[in-house]
């Protein structure tokens, strides 16, 4: 954690200390310690099965950790956490498979949670949804149903849906991995714009070009551990660990 010493004047919005997660006998996370500061963009990369998804999912407690500590926005996640819904509503999440609600229109996908969780009036929620659809570049799709959209459009709706809750943190789990190549850029552009607007983001991705542009910091995962951590500069020009070097040489 030496890299953080220089910036520890800032407030961490996510604190993880020695977090472990197991599925039965198999330990998927073997003690992860990491901090994310406000407005920071942290990119997580590493081989398949290294625990990237598991880690990002423990941040909003889609997976429960069995050891260590996770504090999000000042609230510790544990069995006693009474208002899990409240915490989750502060954290937006974008999935590899989009996970839009197929029985609801694009508009309703976006307005549902603000209305039901936050009690936002319908008209206000719809106006805000239109603004978000414009921001992600597909206002004309509002009345369609998810299956009528392309993958790239669906993922942009999913981003708009998460943003509609005005989250403090956005989590992305391989948001472009299920997309056809020609649609990857339209989603990365939206994410890049979001990063520049000052959103705190944790992104699992293999799009290293994009990652290098937007990331403040990289975490390299392997076998349930953070093997290396550093700025884009350090990771790309001077990786310390052999495993990082090897992995980068394979994907670049």
């Amino acid at each position: 954690m030496t890299d953080n010493d220089s910036i520890d004047a800032r407030v961490p919005i996510i604190i993880c200390e020695d977090v472990t997660v197991s599925f039965g006998d198999f330990q998927a996370l073997k003690g992860i310690s990491a901090r994310v500061y406000e407005q920071e963009v942290v990119v997580i990369f590493g081989p398949s099965g290294s625990g990237k998804s598991t880690f990002i999912r423990t941040i909003n407690r889609l997976e429960e950790h069995d050891g260590g500590r996770i504090v999000v926005d000042g609230i510790e996640l544990n069995d006693d956490v009474g208002n899990l819904e409240q915490i989750r509503s502060e954290i937006g999440m974008v999935f590899q498979q989009f996970n839009l609600f197929p029985h609801l229109s694009v508009m309703r996908n976006i307005t549902l949670a603000p209305q039901k969780v936050r009690g936002v009036p319908k008209q206000e929620a719809e106006e805000q949804a239109m603004e978000l659809l414009e921001r992600v570049g597909i206002p004309e799709q509002a009345q369609k149903f998810p299956t009528q959209l392309s993958g790239g459009q669906q993922q942009r709706v999913a981003i708009a849906r998460a943003l509609a809750m005005k989250p403090k943190i956005m989590l992305f789990d391989e948001p472009t991995s299920a997309l056809d190549p020609e649609m990857i850029k339209e989603v990365l552009d939206v994410m890049g714009e979001l990063a520049h607007s000052g959103m705190t983001m944790m992104i699992v991705t293999h799009e290293m070009g994009f990652a290098r542009e937007v990331a403040d910091r990289f975490l390299f995962f392997d076998e349930g551990l953070v093997v290396e951590e550093g700025t884009p500069e350090q990771i790309f020009t001077n990786p310390k660990e052999d495993r990082t070097k090897l992995f980068l040489s394979q994907i670049l």
């Binding site: 509503s89 937006g92 996970n99 609600f101 209305q115 009036p121």
Partner: protein, 370 residues
């Protein structure tokens, strides 16, 4: 369309059979004669053995219909709860649900009904030693007496007021809902609607001079020293056994339908809803069930039809539904062919009515979204 064609075709077959029966001088004239037997189970009727056979068959229809109607409601509640329970994170809950489903759906319904009847309900004590639960339930091998209500003189007018109150409450609720959507926050629409309904029905209840009186059963000793339970809602062990059998058996199948309907959805649906901060109840009612219903309703309709047809097994323990009535008449006076045609037509009508209702519901569910 196909439905209408099938209904028309089935109707034609029945018509043809009826005409055939009449041609063979196997007409229905005998139905106007007195039945000569009476019912241990009656509901909404006051049948006497001197009344017509047609009337007796009518009592049989009512006995079948109440069994099916109450059975469908109860089995749906049981099945949906058991299906959700099987998916529970709680080990004990899901295990209990699994044992229920697997034991019940892998044994014959007829045997289950007979067991409920002979091993459970008939083993209850005699009336003289009826199990008394809080002075409101009396359980004996002759009847299960439950607290009920009896109606007074102003029941009709009061019922009309209550219905009007219910309509007003529904209007108020949807008005508050719309305001809620416009203004945001929560207007407690359901709470206000319930309050309106409660006030209207309670106030007019007393203004009309208490049209409903609680009717709790009690144990009485007659002059000759015989004990009997009077008052309340008296459920015969036959009805209770068949109802229990049908509800529990069909519920196990419905549980599997509900479970697989929910499991057919990608996990990501629930996770995405959870990540947005929706509560477990909201996820179930807004995201999971609306999608699962599309898969659930067609096989659920089949289960309702199965329950309807399986209600005929009641004849095994002499619960007087239509098969029992028909059988008794055939034993007395013959006329088997017209009676079986009548029974056939009755089941067909019941099944078609259920299909029509369920298909209407199904169309609405399938249309919402794509």
């Amino acid at each position: 369309m196909i439905q209408a064609a099938i209904a028309a075709g089935a109707g034609l077959i029945v018509f043809y059979l009826v005409v055939k029966a009449l041609d063979l001088d196997l007409g229905y004239g005998f139905l106007s004669g007195p039945a000569g037997f009476n019912f241990s189970n009656q509901w909404l009727t006051n049948y006497d053995s001197n009344d017509s056979r047609l009337g007796a068959y009518g009592v049989g229809i009512l006995n079948t219909v109440r069994l099916v109607a109450i059975g469908i409601v109860m089995t749906t509640v049981l099945g949906v709860l058991a299906g959700i329970a099987r998916l529970s994170d709680n080990w004990l809950v899901s295990r209990v649900a699994m044992v229920y489903v697997e034991t019940i759906r892998n044994t014959p319904l007829l045997i289950q009904i007979v067991i409920w009847y002979t091993v459970v309900l008939l083993q209850l004590p005699r009336i003289a030693e009826a199990i008394n639960v809080f002075d409101v339930f009396y359980l004996s091998n002759r009847a299960l007496a439950l607290p009920y209500v009896s109606t007074g003189g102003n029941f009709g007018p009061w019922l009309i007021i209550v219905v009007v109150g219910a309509v007003a409450a529904i209007v108020l609720r949807s008005w508050l809902r719309r305001r809620e959507e416009r203004a945001g926050g929560t207007q407690h629409a359901t709470a206000w609607a319930l309050a309106l309904f409660a006030v209207v029905s309670v106030v007019t209840f007393f203004l009309t001079g208490t049209p409903l009186e609680p009717d709790t059963p009690s144990l009485e000793i007659s002059e000759v020293g015989l004990l009997s339970i009077i008052g309340g809602l008296q459920v015969s062990p036959e009805f209770a056994a068949v109802l229990l059998g049908l509800v529990i058996y069909t519920g196990a199948f419905i549980a599997e339908i509900v479970r697989s309907g929910i499991q057919a959805l990608p996990r990501g649906q629930d996770e995405a809803a959870a990540a947005l901060g929706l509560s477990g109840y909201q996820r179930m009612t807004l995201i999971i069930l609306p999608q699962a219903l599309r898969v659930i309703i067609p096989p659920l309709t089949n289960q309702y039809l199965n329950l309807t047809k399986n209600s005929s097994l009641a004849v095994a323990i002499a619960y007087p539904e239509i098969i029992w009535v028909g059988k008794t008449m055939i034993n007395n006076i013959g006329h088997a062919v017209p009676l079986f045609v009548l029974i056939f037509a009755t089941y067909l009508s019941l099944s078609l009515a259920i299909s029509v209702v369920m298909n209407t519901f199904n169309r609405r569910v399938q249309l919402a979204g794509r």
